[in-house]
């Protein structure tokens, strides 16, 4: 974590702990709404009412990762209340008050593990101080359990609610020294806990961004220039305006994200269906000069041509890779690739806004609501205090909702219609064709082995899409990509192919692609050296030790890596490389990302020569000392596995022709369906005594190479290009 975010965290805790700073979690909620008696805020996160009901503010965006349940579990644990007496409410976006409020990078757990516990512990101390005063006893003589305070010597007991007024007036203790529970006393952390929103979801009552409803609300559909970076040349809106129900036509140019010209036209109507249908009548002409030459076929040809020549730039140079390759006992080379892919959240991008009296209020299904609010301020020229952002539930995120383009767009529309709430909704084609895609990439590998199968030299010529002379967002390569730090002679080099595709972070960004190419290639290297991949991994890593990957980067613990490799091999009964019997195959993959260590084994059956059926997946992961909510941890891992399988074999590939994306819906960009999901995904966690880290991402990357390696084991065919396809 950078120094600035550490400072921010300290600042937020100071503010958050000042009792009374925040009266409620959301601006429009009356104090203690729904309860008869008075409720008191102990700090920005905790409110206790006269019936001893505890309401905990949940600050981070919920995108299916279970954070709305997990962060309050940390607070409730240290506050020492029963989970059954807790009610959860989402907070507003206000990072000055609540600290970081983003859902990305698997960061919520490591960032909040201590602060959320400290928030609960500090409130507990304030209650103890108040009780000590009321009973004229030492605070140290008091104990708590289940939201009650006990004084053993006198036999007195009282609920927290008896002391809330006095407690709110107590100074907050220092966070650095506030006592925390011993792990052996945890009652909530580590207990499988169902999602707090599940009861509402099964009744159709959970409110996602697309469900926000405001009095007098109107609806916007958006016609975006089909070619990225194009501008609006002209439009004939007369026919559209004449249609019943149409309220306004608003030209837009967010200009901020993606940066540069990205013109669009919003059609506002009294029904979204009406607005969307009216797009057919809007005669918009786009100026796309110089942008229509970008195509998938062009990128693939350019990458192939670049791989035939010298790389444009050296990225990593250790030892003498060419020299070592020339004297190696054996060499292996292979070319791997992966395509652009879309996030395809099931809830299409959408956002609702109301602009009124120079202020804007936004309801956003965003992974980064605060930074979205800043972008809106920048676009409309509004000061931060003129912007209120409500965080809604989101129907999936996967990194798409980090970008906030929809927030900036709806803000522009709302400004054109002051006083009227506007809900912008993308249709599926808009969503598919105007994403921030996982960038494609092409790798030309070569490895040199000694007589024992050890890697003595490694080369990778990486071709990545670029914009303005730099790799696109999420198109960078980690210079410490495994096994760079464990091989004496390494050359990673890079060439670039210009693109106009907006790119972004897709669940386990860069890792979801690099795991496939590196672990796929290393399976080939292992075979050439007479080993299997788990054994090549063990030998290459060597003895258990901490290896810094790069300056200010993460440290890779080979002991933790080895432990998950050994664990998954034991779970699956891995007996080494097997030749496929009757189309059966088993493959292995390992990857370290987002501070998590994951080793996975995939069992498949191939029928009719080309049909790949994933039977079972074994997963061993290490994300530290605690699995805070084992129920959602298993869900995250199973979901990540199927997400990775979908990228590998569902046929996902975003293609561009004449500068525009051609995929429109789930027919040409498929997700995995239930009948292609494995029968079983067995998950085990290896626990290491370090603070817990995140789980949204690190389970995904290894399953893709594990599957590719299983296909090789079953069929003898190396599939080196995603999406994986057997046969023609």
């Amino acid at each position: 974590m950078s120094r600035s975010s550490t400072l921010n965290r300290r600042a937020f805790l100071t503010v958050a702990l000042a009792a009374g700073t925040a009266v409620t979690f959301t601006a429009d909620m009356a104090l203690a709404a729904g309860t008869k008696a008075k409720a008191v805020m102990l700090n920005a996160f905790i409110r206790i009412d006269a019936d001893n009901r505890v309401t905990i503010g949940s600050k981070n965006p919920e995108i299916g990762q279970g954070i709305r349940t997990m962060l309050p579990m940390l607070i409730a644990e240290e506050l020492d209340v029963d989970w059954s007496q807790v009610t959860i409410e989402p907070t507003l976006a206000n990072e000055a008050l609540y600290g970081p409020q983003s859902a990305g990078g698997s960061r919520s757990t490591p960032v909040n593990w201590m602060p959320m516990r400290q928030v609960g512990a500090a409130a507990r101390q304030m209650l103890l101080q108040a009780a000590a005063k009321a009973w004229s006893v030492e605070a140290a003589s008091l104990t708590t359990a289940s939201g009650q305070i006990h004084h053993k010597a006198s036999g007195r007991s009282a609920p927290y609610s008896a002391f809330i007024d006095q407690a709110a007036g107590q100074p907050s203790p220092s966070l650095a020294s506030v006592p925390l529970k011993a792990a052996s006393d945890f009652k909530i952390i580590g207990r499988p806990t169902p999602g707090v929103d599940t009861p509402a979801v099964v009744k159709g009552k959970a409110v996602f961004g697309i469900d926000v409803s405001l009095p007098g609300m109107v609806y916007a559909a958006i016609e975006l220039c089909p070619v990225f970076g194009g501008t609006l040349a002209s439009m004939d809106e007369a026919a559209t305006k004449a249609l019943p129900g149409i309220i306004a036509i608003v030209p837009l140019n967010s200009g901020i994200n993606p940066t540069g010209p990205n013109d669009a036209v919003a059609i506002v109507a009294n029904s979204w269906w009406t607005a969307n249908k009216a797009r057919q009548t809007l005669k918009a002409q786009w100026k796309t000069d110089g942008l229509t030459g970008f195509s998938t076929a062009g990128y693939e040809q350019a990458a192939a041509a670049l791989h035939k020549g010298a790389a444009q730039k050296d990225l990593v140079k250790i030892g003498d890779a060419s020299g070592a390759m020339a004297s190696a006992a054996k060499t292996v080379s292979a070319r791997y690739s992966y395509p652009f892919i879309a996030h395809a959240t099931l809830e299409p991008q959408n956002c609702t806004a109301l602009f009124s009296d120079g202020k804007i209020e936004i309801w956003a299904p965003s992974q980064t609501p605060a930074s979205g609010g800043k972008m809106v301020g920048q676009t409309l020229g509004l000061a931060p205090d003129a912007i209120t952002v409500h965080i809604t539930k989101a129907g999936g995120g996967f990194g798409r909702r980090l970008m906030n383009d929809y927030m900036v767009q709806v803000a522009q529309i709302a400004k054109a219609l002051p006083g009227r709430p506007v809900k912008l909704i993308y249709n599926r084609a808009d969503d598919m064709q105007h994403g921030f895609y996982r960038p494609a990439g092409w790798h030309q590998f070569e490895a040199g082995l000694d007589a024992n199968g050890a890697i003595v030299a490694l080369k990778d010529h990486f071709v990545t899409p670029s914009d303005k002379g730099f790799p696109v967002r999420a198109g960078d390569m980690n210079p410490a990509e495994f096994p760079a730090k464990f091989v004496a002679n390494v050359m990673f080099s890079q060439s670039m192919v210009p693109t106009n595709m907006p790119t972004g972070y897709l669940r386990a960004p860069t890792s979801n692609a690099m795991a496939f190419v590196f672990q796929g290639f290393l399976d080939e290297v292992a075979e050439a050296g007479g080993l299997d991949l788990p054994e090549l991994m063990r030998r290459t890593m060597g003895a258990a030790r901490a290896v810094p990957l790069y300056e200010r980067g993460p440290v890779f613990d080979t002991g933790r890596a080895r432990a998950v490799i050994d664990k998954v091999c034991a779970m699956a009964g891995w007996t080494g490389r097997t030749k496929g019997a009757e189309g059966k195959g088993r493959g292995f993959g390992f990857y370290f990302s987002h501070s998590g260590y994951f080793a996975e084994i995939v069992d498949i059956t191939v029928t009719q020569g080309t049909r790949i059926k994933v039977e079972k997946v074994y997963v061993a992961g290490d994300i530290g000392s605690h699995i805070i909510n084992p129920m959602h941890a298993e869900q995250q891992v199973q979901g990540a596995i199927i997400d990775g399988l979908a990228q590998a074999i569902a046929g996902q590939k975003i293609q561009q022709v004449d500068g525009a994306v051609t995929q429109k819906n789930f027919g040409d960009f498929p997700l995995l369906r239930i009948d292609a999901a494995p029968a079983q995904i067995e998950v085990a966690f290896v626990k290491t005594d370090v603070p817990p880290t995140g789980l949204g991402e690190p389970a995904l990357p290894p399953v893709i190479p594990a599957l590719a390696n299983a296909i090789y084991a079953a069929t003898g065919k190396r599939l080196r290009d995603l999406p994986l396809r057997l046969g023609a």
Binding site: E62, I63, G64, G66, P194, G195, D197, T198, P199, V201, V202, K203, G204, K205, A206, V207, F208, I210, D211, S213, Y219, S271, W272, W273, T274, A344, T345, L346, E347, P348, K393, A394, G395, G396, G397, F398, I425, N427, R428, H632, Q635, Q638, G639, I641, I642, D643, A646, N665, F666, G667, L671, L672, R673, I674, D675, A677, P678, A679, Q680, I681
Partner: protein, 158 residues
């Protein structure tokens, strides 16, 4: 055009373009946003509702086709014994992650168990393959359907 229909056991009259899909009538005109928009093309199943007990994709069903019929949405699915068992199993196993597809999943699962009280694994996959889940809650969906089926057969014995 005024269309009369019964939604969740209540008679409703809607004034809308006859082509307007049932999905948008439910969401915009009848205040029932539990039925979700996913693809607009019948490919994802998020908008699944029942018309006269049979599942349809509300995004592809013009409101005129629902005239005079009984529509059941997620908001009312638990009113039938099967729907109640399904939603209870969903809660018990904590099936949802983001939750966006789950209305459609529950409607399809309820229709399956109404027609076929004891489906085998292949029948569950076949009946549910029209409902996408981007979070991939599929393993729990299978378990929850089996659990609801078992609860149903126990109920029948009792």
């Amino acid at each position: 055009m005024a269309v009369q229909l019964t939604v969740n056991d209540a008679k409703r009259t809607v004034s809308a373009d006859p082509e307007k899909p049932l999905l948008w009538v439910l969401r915009e005109d009848l205040g029932l946003p539990g039925t979700k928009f996913g693809c607009g093309a019948g490919l994802c199943g998020a908008c699944t509702v029942m018309i006269d007990g049979k599942t349809v994709r509300a995004c592809m069903t013009p409101i005129s086709a629902a005239a005079g019929k009984h529509v059941t949405t997620i908001e009312h699915v638990a009113a039938t014994p099967v729907g109640k068992r399904v939603t209870e199993a969903w809660v018990e196993l904590d099936v949802p992650q983001c939750g966006y597809c789950q209305a459609g999943q529950i409607m399809s699962a309820t229709a399956l168990l109404t027609a076929q009280p004891k489906p085998d694994a292949a029948a569950i996959d076949a009946a549910m393959r029209g409902n996408l889940c981007r979070c991939a809650t599929y393993l729990r969906i299978r378990k929850a359907i089996q659990s609801a089926a078992n609860a149903g057969s126990e109920g029948a014995k009792a």
